[in-house]
């Protein structure tokens, strides 16, 4: 569908998945991961997407422009584990047309 964007997601086992994500359902990246069951239920999106648990942490692999980090996300990442320079909380990344071609890797479970 024309309003879908293609995103490449590497799961926690290192397997890469190319998925189509709808831009018209107010979804975020964490929800896309869950909808394709790329991480077991209960290990991702624990807080439901409130930037309160960091279970959806991912590493952004390529230079696609993402929305700027808000305070809550930054604060949560500062308390999370396995954090790198390119860490983001996928629940804070809404699916928009600008995300076409995005590549991310899921951070380990903690």
């Amino acid at each position: 569908m024309e309003q879908d964007v293609k995103i490449t997601i590497t799961d926690r086992e290192g397997v890469s998945h190319e998925v189509m994500a709808p831009t018209d359902m107010a979804m975020n990246l964490m929800e896309v991961v869950r909808s394709y069951e790329l991480a077991p239920e209960g290990t991702i999106g624990t807080c439901g997407g409130m930037a309160m648990c960091a279970s959806c942490q991912c590493y952004v692999i390529n230079g696609i422009q993402l929305p700027e980090m808000q305070d809550e996300e930054e604060a949560m990442l500062s308390e999370a584990f396995y954090v790198k320079e390119n860490s983001r909380l996928s629940c804070q990344i809404p699916i928009t047309l600008e995300l076409e071609g995005l590549e991310v890797e899921l951070a380990p479970e903690s």
């Binding site: 077991p40 239920e41 209960g42 290990t43 624990t46 807080c47 409130m50 309160m52 648990c53 279970s55 305070d71 809550e72 930054e74 604060a75 949560m76 500062s78 308390e79 584990f81 396995y82 903690s110």
Partner: protein, 353 residues
């Protein structure tokens, strides 16, 4: 031994509503929860956040929903075992179950309803290689008794409310408090942040930011922590202390329930779809976010429905063969175990002349 009709594991919204529905059927409930207060996620994670899909409430704060549910079930006098995690379950010859918590409290009931949400909340442990060795030897993830820190040297790490609040609290008790956080910014209530600033300015606490504890030193107990600081130049140094308290929040884990012989799928307990939410073990039910079946939705409103159907099945187990028909609370009122009665006001029958 605590004895009850329905033993509910998990005091979140689903478990609390089950108390009400059970009460209507004259069954008594007792709840176990690993958290120190009822409400589950609603009070632990987001008490001040609004929920918009509770039927009849266009908007309600999660904390207020908990308060209302407690008020709604209060006349059925639920018992609570709080701050304890249900660890083991043993089936008895008479068909009842004995559930024992991690602190050894025993509970017996003919019906067990697991309303455990995403699991019991466990502390998130920082990635320090030797940290498990020092647990209960100076490393604590929860503060249970602040008095053990009196006149001791304490290092707290974390950047949220609990790190701030305990820093403030222990500043008056411990001989020395050091707060370490990976950033200069803290996330918490404004007055907590201000108070920590004040304590730092007055020299009552040490603040080390941006920095991280990367190792623990000690012979059989915590003697110091190794801190890595990245301010202008990277450096590592030791801070001598008696206690190290990492406060990085809690994350839910299914935990011991996963070993009760229940069928588990996708980190949830499989139940018979939409019949009565019984598990593969007769007498044990799973309701709310903790269960799964085709079409499952993890919503509070679905938990309420599941709790209601579970109580009907529990009634049959507890009162075999005893007749009952569904009654409307508007018609029959609500008779509490505490002797109270709620009922609709009677209509007046009177001639108009």
């Amino acid at each position: 031994m605590i004895k009850t009709d329905i033993l509910i594991i998990g005091a979140g919204p689903t478990g609390l509503f089950a108390v009400f529905e059970a009460g209507l059927l004259k069954m008594k409930c007792h709840l176990i929860d690993a958290l120190p207060q009822p409400g589950g996620q609603c009070t632990e994670l987001y008490p001040k956040k609004p929920i918009y899909d509770i039927p009849g409430f266009p908007e309600i704060l999660a904390g207020d929903l908990t308060k209302n549910l407690l008020e709604q079930c209060k006349q059925f006098e639920p018992g609570f075992t709080l701050g304890e995690r249900a660890d083991t379950i043993e089936k008895q010859e008479d068909g009842s179950f004995i559930v024992t918590t991690n602190k050894g409290t025993k509970h017996q009931a003919p019906v067990v309803a697991i309303a455990g949400g995403l699991g019991s909340f466990e502390p998130r442990k920082p990635l320090i290689a030797n940290i498990s060795y020092f647990e209960d030897k100076g490393v604590e993830y929860f503060i249970k008794d602040p008095e053990i820190y009196r006149n001791k040297r304490v290092v707290i790490s974390g950047g949220g409310d609990s790190a701030l609040d305990w820093t403030i609290y222990l500043a008056d008790i411990a001989s020395e408090v050091t707060l370490i956080h990976r950033r200069n910014e803290f996330r918490g209530a404004l007055d907590s942040v201000d108070k920590v600033q004040e304590l730092k300015n007055a020299g009552k606490i040490n603040l080390v930011t941006p920095a991280e504890v990367i190792n623990i030193v000690g012979d059989h107990k915590v003697e110091a922590v190794v801190v890595a600081q990245a301010l202008n130049i990277e450096k590592e140094f030791e801070i001598e202390c008696d206690h190290f308290i990492p406060l990085f929040g809690l994350s839910p884990k299914l935990g011991p329930i996963a070993k009760w012989g229940l069928e588990i799928e996708k980190n949830a307990i499989v139940v018979n779809n939409a019949l009565d939410y019984q598990t593969n073990i007769p007498g044990i039910f799973a309701i709310g976010d903790v269960n799964t079946y085709p079409g499952k939705l993890k919503l509070i409103l679905c938990g309420f429905h599941e709790a209601t159907l579970m109580c009907q099945a529990a009634y049959q187990i507890i009162n075999p063969g005893k007749r009952y028909v569904l009654k409307y609370t508007t018609v029959s009122g609500v008779d509490g175990f505490d002797g109270t009665r709620k009922e609709a006001p009677k209509q007046v029958v009177k001639a108009i002349e």
